[in-house]
């Protein structure tokens, strides 16, 4: 029996900066996960992943990550994905530092 599909986002690392990026509905990429396109249908999710994988000049290692749809946009459900939205816990570096600007 196949598992029920859980909501996803397409995410990858940026080719030049190496940081986490997420695919938006308008085909652009964002560094803010809450602005990403939430994918609630398996066939659509697969299509969006293929679209991301066809952009090797921007995105490296694209994959589907679990996400929870909220009024504030998609939020991570797993701690690894949560860390990717923030940065390391030992220094104020990465996205958490950029958000302070």
């Amino acid at each position: 029996m196949s598992r029920r599909f859980t909501p996803k986002v397409v995410t990858a690392n940026h080719l030049m900066e190496g940081d986490a990026i997420w695919l938006c509905e308008d085909d652009s990429w964002t560094r803010d996960m809450s602005r990403a396109e939430i994918l609630e249908d398996v066939a659509h999710a697969d299509l969006r992943l293929l679209h991301a994988q066809a952009q090797p000049h921007i995105a490296v290692g694209a994959y589907l990550a679990d996400a929870e749809p909220t009024p504030k946009g998609p939020q991570p459900t797993h701690f690894r994905e949560a860390f990717r939205t923030r940065g390391p816990s030992n220094y104020d570096h990465g996205k958490q530092a950029e958000a302070d600007l």
Binding site: M16, E17, G18, D19, R84, S89
Partner: protein, 555 residues
């Protein structure tokens, strides 16, 4: 120390130029990521959780002041002003931008450094005892052999597509400070009937299936080092399991075929290739050895040192933990702790790197070492200079007196940086050290090695920690398993799991219970944690870790 020949310099420059072209072609779209990835890995460039990571080799852990200053410059110019020293005597930069990496590699080449073979299925950076050439207990300096192995293994045409990575460590002393028994090949310099040679260990390794290396040859004559090493790698290259990366390391090959069969095959291969080694390697070794001679150490009076030691308790405490006997009584080996309580194990800022470089240049015959325990060593300093060195280190936040104590924790980058990690390790190390500092117990506790890995690959050497901690992902939550009784020295042992793991917010109290348990049960303060564990076994520690379960069972 070793200086590049014209060949070395040209080779490293050529690789940088090639990589510059590869990066350009990746950016302009001529190379796909699948094509580019093996090329970047050959040059030490990973893509991690938040950024690229450049791993730079510090061969056998030896660098000079100029090289350390250059690492500081690179960290400041192209990274975020710090670097992370690793358990395999490398330094990692956590935030490089892809387009900057060729310039970083050129800057490394300017000071005879590189990132070649710090990744990929190749022979990796050859590591050595960080006290090499300075320790009183060694038969010979292992670094000339390590350098010979580095030259032999770099771009070796037969060994560029091995079944998996391959790690070699060398020590010149019986006391194993280089964890040689947890390496694919571990070499210990020994003497027999006045002749120098090696005890050769094979098939050690940590990771998913931890194994202690087995003796393949009790005595290998010095001049057979390269052909015999080549025979080992060659036999494994054919036998190694390319079908399953979890079974590809030589430890599994040795385990599956048995050490006798591996020995037979290696000896057969060795007999075949030995005649090809005409002795050029030994001429090269002789030339290399000249570059590792002990610096000219002046006779220095001890009065100033003795006066400071007797009058300054902070200095005395630092000397007692961080200073090791040198082969000469009026000199010493200083271990600079990169483990300030609450700091990230192994991290140094650019400013700290510059301070250490200046100390090496001013007081340490321009030599620094990186230890596998993620600290920095000044191997040759006069005891008379120790008060000045200590004062300088204090100003730079580098005078933490905890070498070998419980807060001198090895920790891999874990899920704060590493794409492979299953849990964080750095904040666990930070919190344990902070707690120990608050309790003020670590001097009383004495020697205790805590080692933390953020995944099963065991970069944090948790299997050989007296207390080992392994961070896992258990149903989407960080969970930490504890092992006890591991040992990375000549008495190497793999730790035993205590039982169920602990949640992120429970791991520090768990470690504290283990330490309290040890303090309660030790016979006297001279009995160390590991000795006490070996005497009483797992039982009392398990009861301390899982009090409720034990109570329920008793009820």
């Amino acid at each position: 120390m070793y200086h590049y020949s014209d060949f070395d310099a040209a080779f490293v420059r050529e690789r940088v130029a090639q990589f510059r072209g590869q990066v350009e072609r990746r950016i302009d779209g001529s190379l796909t990521e699948d094509e580019f990835k093996p090329l970047r890995l050959m040059n030490g460039l990973y893509l991690q959780l938040h950024a690229y990571m450049l791993r730079v080799a510090i061969p056998y852990g030896t660098i000079n002041g100029r090289q350390m200053r250059q690492l500081a410059m690179i960290a400041k110019r192209w990274d975020k002003g710090y670097g992370h020293f690793t358990t395999r005597q490398n330094i990692q930069f956590n935030w490089p931008k892809l387009a900057d990496v060729p310039d970083m590699l050129d800057a490394l080449a300017d000071v005879e450094m590189h990132a070649i073979q710090t990744s990929g299925n190749t022979i990796r950076n050859v590591t050595a005892d960080h006290f090499a050439g300075a320790a009183g207990d060694e038969i010979a300096d292992p670094r000339p052999y390590a350098e010979l192995l580095r030259q032999w293994s770099t771009d070796h045409p037969e060994f560029q597509f091995l079944p998996r990575k391959f790690k070699v460590a060398v020590t010149g002393a019986e006391a194993d400070r280089a964890v040689i028994r947890a390496h694919d090949i571990g070499l210990q310099i020994v003497e027999r009937d006045g002749a120098r040679g090696f005890r050769v260990f094979v098939g050690g390794g940590l990771g998913r299936t931890p194994m202690i290396g087995k003796v393949l040859r009790d005595f290998l004559p010095e001049e057979d080092l390269l052909p015999y090493s080549e025979a080992i790698v060659s036999v494994w290259n054919l036998l190694g399991r390319r079908d399953n990366k979890y079974k590809a390391r030589i430890k599994i090959t040795v385990h599956e075929h048995g050490v006798e069969e591996i020995s037979r095959l290696v000896e057969e291969r060795f007999a075949q290739i030995r005649p090809n080694f005409s002795g050029v390697d030994q001429q090269m070794l002789a030339a290399i050895r000249k570059q590792f001679s002990l610096p000219d150490l002046d006779d220095r009076p001890m009065d100033g040192f003795t006066a400071a030691y007797d009058s300054d308790p902070v200095f005395r405490s630092w000397v007692d933990t961080n200073v090791t006997a040198h082969r000469r009584d009026d000199h010493a080996i200083v271990s600079i702790s990169l483990k300030a309580h609450g700091a990230t194990p192994g991290d140094a800022t650019s400013e700290q790197m510059e301070v250490m470089a200046a100390l090496a240049e001013g007081f340490g015959h321009d030599e620094l070492r990186i230890s596998h325990e993620q600290n920095v060593i000044l191997p040759h300093v006069a005891r008379a200079d120790l008060p000045t060195i200590h004062a300088t280190l204090r100003e730079a936040g580098l005078a933490t007196a905890n070498i070998g104590l419980a807060s001198d924790i090895i920790a891999c980058p874990g899920m704060d940086y590493c794409a492979l990690a299953t849990a964080r390790s750095i904040p666990v190390a930070q919190d344990i050290a902070t707690r120990l500092d608050a309790l003020k117990v670590e001097r009383d506790v004495g020697p205790l090695k805590i080692k933390i890995s953020g995944c099963i690959n065991a970069c944090g050497h948790h299997h050989v920690g007296h207390i080992g901690i392994l961070g896992l992902d258990r149903a989407g939550v960080e969970n930490y398993q504890i092992t006890l009784g591991g040992d990375g020295t000549e008495d190497a042992a793999i730790g035993t799991r205590t039982g169920p793991g602990f949640a992120y917010d429970q791991i520090v109290p768990a470690v504290e219970r283990l330490i309290d348990c040890y303090l309660d049960l030790r016979e006297d303060p001279s009995e160390t944690f590991i000795q006490a564990y070996r005497r009483v076994g797992m039982g009392p520690f398990k009861s301390a870790l899982y009090p409720k379960k034990e109570a329920a069972r008793a009820a």
